[in-house]
């Protein structure tokens, strides 16, 4: 044995194996879940964060939900596992909005579990809603990478989310809202997440044209695909100089060119910021799915806690919560009261920036009010 051979890790010597796919989900199911798979009868919300699920077999399972920061160190994941081993027979799941769920068969363990999670992990129990009563909790914010990992963000993700959730914490742990309200955040217009169809969303936006570094463009970019990436036709190839030319009157700072080409960075500390959208919806319940609509075109990036963004989101949420009927999501509420009233009640300003002029989007015209009917 030579020294070098000793150094090789097992992972460096195994044969490469591909395309075997993810673990089969069945392996991962708690025995009660496996047994009652497809045979659940109904559920009841016991308290915020705790859903009692009753199977046709009579089996009962308590699903207990906790908020998570999504960005987890493996040490916290191990803590979560410890808790799952202790309370949940070694099984757990994450929800589609990044919450953690444990499965309990003994209702007496619910309170100890909640206490232990809060103490060990600091994760709050909640994020659920009770449709029967029409009482809703706020759940976790779906979000993206931001300054933690991505190269194209116009703002951070986790920092704003943390700041907003700190402020809205009680809505998570309690059922104080009249209807479902989904908040999302994306750090750039790529909108990794459902920002384009959420009740309230935040999206990082630029407000200045990209800076073209001709050298870098020449070195690192495929010019035709960069030009093609521009939705407004603001870019033209400059064949001679092997770079691109930007028509600044056409550019709306979407950053799609930068996604394609590192040679034209668009970030700009003072002018980047956050736009707020509202009224998106995905479920078919009562009212058809809707795209989110921009109600604040820009708020400053003000780290570490983005107070302007936090307060605007809170203001919208609470205005809605005060005025909406049971089950009335923001889209439905606005449909009833009119956008006139939305702006009046929230105190937000309607400006020409909120009138659609994105020609690629096929909805532009449908957004113009072809009617003399409106409220004052």
């Amino acid at each position: 044995m030579v020294a070098q051979e000793v150094e090789k890790e097992p992972e460096e010597t195994v044969e490469v194996k591909t395309d075997f796919g993810p673990p089969h989900y069945e392996i991962m199911l708690h025995p009660i879940i496996k047994k009652n798979y497809g045979k659940w009868k109904y559920h009841e919300v016991v308290r915020p964060g705790v859903i009692k699920r009753v199977a046709e077999s009579g089996d009962v399972l308590y699903v207990v939900r906790f908020g998570s920061p999504r960005l987890l160190s493996i040490y916290t994941v191990r803590d979560i596992c410890d808790i799952a081993d202790k309370y949940s027979d070694g099984y757990l799941r994450f929800t589609s909005r990044n919450n953690v769920e444990f499965f309990l068969t003994d209702p007496d363990k619910i309170e100890p579990l909640i206490k232990e999670v809060q103490e060990k992990l600091g994760f709050p129990c909640g994020g659920t809603w009770d449709a029967t009563k029409g009482e809703y909790g706020l759940t976790n914010i779906v979000h993206t990478q931001g300054w933690v990992h991505c190269h194209t963000p116009a703002t951070d993700a986790s920092g704003i989310v943390k700041s907003v959730m700190d402020e809205l914490y009680d809505y998570f742990t309690d059922h104080k809202l009249p209807a479902l309200c989904r908040i999302s955040l994306a750090c750039c217009a790529n909108m990794c997440g459902a920002v384009h169809a959420s009740d309230i969303s935040m999206v990082g936006v630029h407000r200045k044209i990209p800076r073209i570094d001709d050298d870098a463009v020449r070195r690192t970019c495929e010019i035709p695909s960069t030009v093609a990436a521009c939705p407004t036709g603001a870019l033209k190839p400059d064949m001679k100089r092997k770079t691109v030319i930007l028509d600044k009157d056409k550019c709306m700072y979407c950053g799609n060119c930068y996604t394609m080409c590192p040679g034209m960075p668009i970030f700009n500390p003072e002018n980047d910021g956050v736009a707020i959208l509202v009224g998106g919806k995905i479920s078919d319940a009562r009212y058809p799915p809707q795209l989110s609509k921009v109600v604040v075109p820009w708020l400053p990036n003000n780290p570490p806690r983005w107070p302007e963004v936090v307060q605007t989101v809170k203001k919208i949420l609470e205005t809605w919560a005060t005025h909406a009927e049971k089950y009335e999501r923001i889209a439905e509420w606005v449909h009833r009261i009119g956008w006139e009233r939305f702006f009046e009640l929230t105190g937000l300003e309607f400006t020409e920036k909120l009138i659609d002029d994105y020609k690629r989007t096929p909805y532009i015209y449908a957004s113009y009010r072809a009617s003399a009917a409106f409220r004052w």
């Binding site: 194996k17 395309d19 796919g21 757990l92 300054w147 990992h149 914490y169 995905i282 009212y287």
Partner: protein, 414 residues
């Protein structure tokens, strides 16, 4: 923890305050614990990564800008996707995270886990990566946040032999990225939810397994996403976030347990909460019996949501396929629209596979670079798309018929 020194991060420290769990605490914890583990003799290939991240992030907060650069092409043997290359523009200042690539790991359908599996992943990532993760990425993958190019392959191998090397009940494979099939996802469906109109987990798993090649080797015009929701509530946001959304539904009559309705009547206001809220006025309630005019019902789920004990989707179950959902680039954000109004549950997986394959072939042929399938359909017309998937036009595909008489009569042209 006092023996581990962290960089000064006055701005980030602000984000440790407040009741909501803090991602900064997580990064700090990784920084501290990985260093401690190393000191305790554990094999740690990438010491200081989390600490490096703290430095980069503090700077980002100071300067209000990212310090991450385009990734270039980094990948693992046999695969074209699954890794997001990432470099830092502060190479000199923070060499620990000069490389900071992300790995996307295909989660089990429905995000169900045994702790054994999770622990194994943690162990491997403690060794080969930053010790930081996302549970989960917004497509649904397990995101392993940050490692160096040379550790990508060993980490991939660690996952591929996670059962043998780390005691996981099963190995884990890489997820999608780039112009490929992205990791399909599914709501918990029949595993926990009484509303599921088809087996979302099975469907998701089947697609994933059948299209391993499409998932691992980007070769299309752009990305393609499949999401499975068991009912129109759409708990994985499939309509908005996937090119091919499978939304469980039913065709026959809502099942009613009148006794249970009367029980609900004691605690809720059925008239106000259910009858008045039905979008089509299909429900009536006389204090004794709930009547649903199923010809008027559009299967929106509202009444069932409010009274899950009393109401259930019908027995003739299956799914609606919506096509084209996506984020705003280039032709604008799209919520997917109806491509097939109903496929019975027992034919669902096969029919979807047939359609998927036909769509991919067509898109591969006709799609422009970075053109999502929804945009292609829009460019080419539903007419052509319907031929591709072998479907007849159905009024349920539209909110309303066209408002212009500019119709192609291709069959009449010689």
């Amino acid at each position: 923890m006092a023996d581990v020194e962290l960089p000064e991060t006055p701005l980030l420290d602000e984000l440790e305050k407040g009741p909501w769990p803090s991602f900064i605490k997580e990064i700090k914890r990784a920084a501290i614990e990985q260093e401690k583990a190393m000191k305790a003799g554990k094999k740690i290939k990438l010491p200081g990564a989390a600490k490096g991240l703290l430095k980069v992030l503090e700077l980002a907060y100071e300067e209000k800008r990212t310090h991450w650069k385009h990734g270039g092409i980094v990948s693992v043997i046999g695969y074209g996707g699954g890794v997001i290359g990432r470099y830092c523009d502060l190479e000199d200042k923070v060499p620990e995270v000069w490389h900071f690539h992300t790995m996307r790991i295909n989660m089990p359908a429905g995000w169900f886990y045994q702790t054994k599996a999770l622990r194994a992943i943690c162990d491997a990532w403690e060794k080969w990566g930053s010790g930081l993760t996302n549970f989960h990425g917004s497509t649904g993958d397990i995101i392993l946040l940050g490692t160096r190019t040379e550790y990508l392959q060993p980490m991939t191998n660690a996952l591929a032999y996670l059962d043998k090397l780390y005691g996981s009940p099963a190995p884990f494979d890489i997820g999608g990225s780039g112009s490929d099939l992205r990791t399909p996802s599914a709501c918990m469906g029949p595993a926990l939810c009484e509303f599921a109109c088809y087996d979302t987990l099975k469907a998701c798993y089947e697609f994933t397994m059948r299209y391993q090649n499409e998932l691992h080797r980007p070769m299309w015009p752009y990305k393609f996403k499949i999401k499975c929701s068991g009912c129109p509530n759409d708990c994985v946001a499939a309509k908005a976030r996937s090119d091919f959304a499978i939304i469980g539904t039913w065709k026959d009559e809502i099942q009613i347990d009148q006794e249970a309705v009367r029980e609900y009547a004691k605690v809720i206001d059925i008239e106000k909460q259910v009858v008045k809220k039905c979008p089509t006025g299909a429900i009536s309630w006389d204090g004794k019996e709930l009547k649903i005019d199923n010809r008027e019902c559009i299967r929106c789920m509202h009444c069932i949501n409010v009274m899950p004990k009393a109401l259930k989707p019908g027995k003739e179950r299956g799914a609606t396929i919506l096509i084209g959902g996506k984020a705003p680039f280039v032709d604008g954000a799209i919520i997917g629209w109806v491509a097939v109004p109903f496929i019975p549950a027992d034919e669902l997986i096969e029919k979807c596979c047939e359609m998927l394959e036909a769509i991919w072939e067509w898109w591969d042929e006709e799609g422009k670079f970075r053109e999502r399938v929804g945009e292609l359909i829009w460019r080419k017309g539903m007419d052509e798309f319907l031929k591709v998937i072998g479907q007849k036009a159905d009024v349920r595909m539209v909110y309303a018929p066209r408002n212009n008489p500019f119709i192609f009569w291709r069959e009449l042209q010689e």
